[in-house]
């Protein structure tokens, strides 16, 4: 199968839906500009015209309401936000209106709406340009929350999200946009609300999503070398959360670690661990664990920011601790020298 980048997978899914259903449109700051939202909307304007692909003023809240209005009329808007922080301005429309509309109207109206939010770390972004607020949205009944980790999933989950008749918050970690993966040319859907078991094992369950899935995959390789076999669950969707897949796995392995993509206090990992505890607490062989982003506002300087994020070593070490083992540094590959960039080709400025 051909390999393409994550950002191109997003673009392909969008282009497919735009061509398949003329009710779909894309709106967002910078959507038709030369950078095309990290390459995810490149040339869509040229291909589909300015009624389907367009920019907007800096009106995040208003634009969300406008999208809701078009959705009520049967359209299927996709909104993009280059940082989740900009979307915070539109929480009112997302949470009070879009999320509840179908229930409030007793099913008479629906809001098929995809809101793409770019999250994650990088290059001195500072406290207001790198948050990961998945848990906020997952707390709200009526929203769906999706978070792909691979180009394949990005395409399939985005198509499903656009076809879904509900408001879907679609989180893209910035460091994934440039990653490569196998992606079929034809269209396909990945069901929302179902997790994906990426690796099968018996000793421990590792649960994660988004960018941390890519790091966890490497951790699993290393752990395998140390004869620890891992069930690696990539959540794909955070809401609805696939409790069944999680529970089945943990029932088997009896050990579990959740690698959060955000802050761990009151975070996604808290929900997962609490669910496991209420159902399987007394069957576990070791106390469950969560790791994730340090609970601080993320500083701009790379020298402090680097301590905020879990990495390969943190994950491997945490798993080994469940078995009372220590990590052998020799077995860990060299870390990317600069922990504030996704790869060595990245030269800034954002």
């Amino acid at each position: 199968m051909r390999e393409i980048k994550f950002n191109k997978a997003i673009r392909e899914a969008t282009a497919y839906c735009l061509s398949e259903d003329n009710m779909v449109y894309v709106m967002g700051l910078g959507v038709p500009d030369p950078k095309g939202i990290f390459g995810t909307t490149e040339n869509l304007l040229e291909e589909f015209g300015p009624e389907r692909v367009f920019d907007m003023p800096i009106i995040e809240n208003g634009a969300t309401g406008i999208a809701i209005g078009t959705a009520i009329m049967g359209m299927r808007p996709i909104i993009t936000h280059q940082r989740v922080e900009f979307a915070i301005l539109s929480m009112e429309q997302i949470v009070n209106q879009a999320a509840k509309w179908h229930h409030m109207t007793a099913g008479q109206s629906k809001i098929p709406l995809v809101i793409r939010m770019i999250i994650g770390r990088g290059w001195g972004q500072g406290a207001q340009h790198c948050q990961s607020l998945e848990t906020w949205f997952a707390h709200i009944p009526g929203l769906k929350v999706v978070s792909p980790a691979t180009p394949y999933d990005a395409k399939g989950l985005l198509i499903s999200s656009i076809k879904d008749n509900n408001p879907v918050i679609f989180f893209e970690h910035r460091w994934l946009h440039d990653t490569f993966g196998n992606v079929p040319e034809e269209s396909y859907e990945i069901p929302l609300g179902k997790a994906n078991i990426l690796k099968h094992g018996n000793d421990v369950t590792l649960i994660t999503y988004s960018y941390m899935t890519t790091v966890s995959l490497k951790a699993v390789e290393i752990l395998n070398k140390m004869n620890i076999s891992v069930d690696l669950i990539d959540l794909r969707s955070i809401k609805p959360l696939d409790y069944d897949t999680i529970i089945n796995s943990v029932q088997k392995t009896k050990r579990v670690i959740v690698v959060d993509n955000g802050w761990t206090d009151f975070g996604v990992s808290s929900e997962i661990i609490s669910d496991i505890a209420t159902k399987l607490g007394n069957q576990l062989k070791a106390n469950p664990k969560k790791i994730g982003i340090e609970n601080v506002p993320i500083p701009s300087t790379r020298e402090l920011a680097k301590y905020c994020y879990p990495n390969l070593k943190t994950i491997v070490t945490s798993v080994l601790e469940l078995f009372d083992k220590k990590v052998d540094d020799a077995i860990l590959p060299e870390e990317n020298g600069m922990p504030d960039v996704p790869n060595k080709y990245f030269l800034g400025p954002f």
Binding site: G62, I66, G69, T70, I72, G74, M104, T105, A106, S109
Partner: protein
């Protein structure tokens, strides 16, 4: 109310529609104390002329959106009375099967798309509605009712900016009743503020009129919408006044947040009395005719209440239904 459709005389229809709203609202106020309509209610008494002056010139296929104070708009747009009362009583016969309550009226058949209680929130939603119609080459109108308080919100301005930029055929109707809850304009807006200038600064035509005169409202509305047939947004501001408390069934004159003289001045300018007197003076309407209408109206209203009271509630399993759409 079917009868209205056969009343050829448009003036009479306007008066009757205003009476209909007022009598429904007073009946809600009366029955509210029975503690069976267990949700907040924001009544429209005193503001009937705006709703009627606008909605009487809308077609069924035109769309209306509103906010917390939406009964008048819903009724004037032809929303089902039975469904509205059912909703206030929380019953499954309600327009949202009781899930919404008074602050979330909806009647898609009548073109009443939505009302929500977060001030300002339906403004962009209405702009989106109108814009979708334009994109779909649907020429029916979209009207959003808002209070003057809502013009303070950020999202109001964002919505105007977008509507002007994309030439969205949205019709804004601002009912300026001087108050946001108990707070007078003077405590919220600078004396140097001009809504007209703001709206026109956004690039949108602004019309202003006496919201207690149903004739003024409808003639200004028709003039303004004519001017804006080629998709431009248009803004109407009407001065009017709410008689009862902000939320709830009672007068609140004892609270003294507004001068008695102000209240009585506005009551003297009652949109119904002044217009009724005119129609009678001009011989367009007779007392007897009006009496007959009001009797029928009374029966219609009482029956709708009876039906609402008699209806059942949704059963528990509906709580978990329709959280997501299939």
């Amino acid at each position: 109310m079917k009868d209205l459709k056969i009343i050829k005389n448009i003036e009479k229809k306007l008066l009757y529609e205003m009476y209909r709203i007022r009598n429904i609202e007073f009946k809600i106020a009366e029955y509210y104390s029975e503690q069976e309509m267990r949700c907040p209610v924001h009544l429209s008494i005193g503001q009937e002329a705006v709703a009627v002056g606008i909605c009487s010139y809308l077609k069924k296929s035109d769309s209306v959106l509103s906010a917390h104070r939406s009964h008048a708009h819903y009724v004037a747009k032809g929303g089902s009375l039975e469904k509205m009362l059912g909703e206030l009583y929380g019953k499954e016969t309600g327009c949202a099967q009781g899930k919404g309550g008074s602050m979330h009226l909806i009647d898609l058949d009548a073109g009443f798309l939505a009302a929500v209680p977060i001030v300002g929130s339906t403004i962009p939603i209405a702009v989106g509605t109108a814009w979708a119609k334009k994109l779909k080459r649907d020429t029916s109108k979209t009207v959003v009712f808002l209070g003057e308080g809502a013009t303070e919100t950020g999202v109001f301005h964002e919505s105007l900016g977008f509507a002007a930029l994309h030439n969205v055929p949205i019709i804004f109707i601002c009912e300026n009743n001087l108050y946001s809850v108990y707070t007078h304009l003077r405590d919220r807006q600078s004396p140097n503020r001009s809504l007209k200038e703001i709206v026109e600064g956004h690039g949108i035509k602004h019309f202003h009129g006496n919201g207690n005169s149903v004739e003024d409202v409808s003639s200004i509305f028709r003039e303004g919408t004519f001017e804006n047939e080629n998709n431009a947004p248009v803004f109407f501001e009407f001065d009017t006044y709410r008689w009862l408390e902000h939320c709830g069934p009672n007068y609140d004159d004892h609270l003294k947040y507004r001068e008695d003289s102000e209240v009585s001045m506005w009551k003297d300018r009652c949109p119904i009395n002044t217009f009724e007197k005119k129609l009678i003076d001009e011989g367009i309407l007779s007392h007897q005719e009006l009496e007959k209408y009001l009797e029928k109206l009374n029966i219609e209203i009482e029956e709708a209440f009876k039906k609402a009271k008699k209806s059942s509630f949704l059963s528990k399993e509906h709580l978990y239904e329709k959280i997501y759409s299939d």
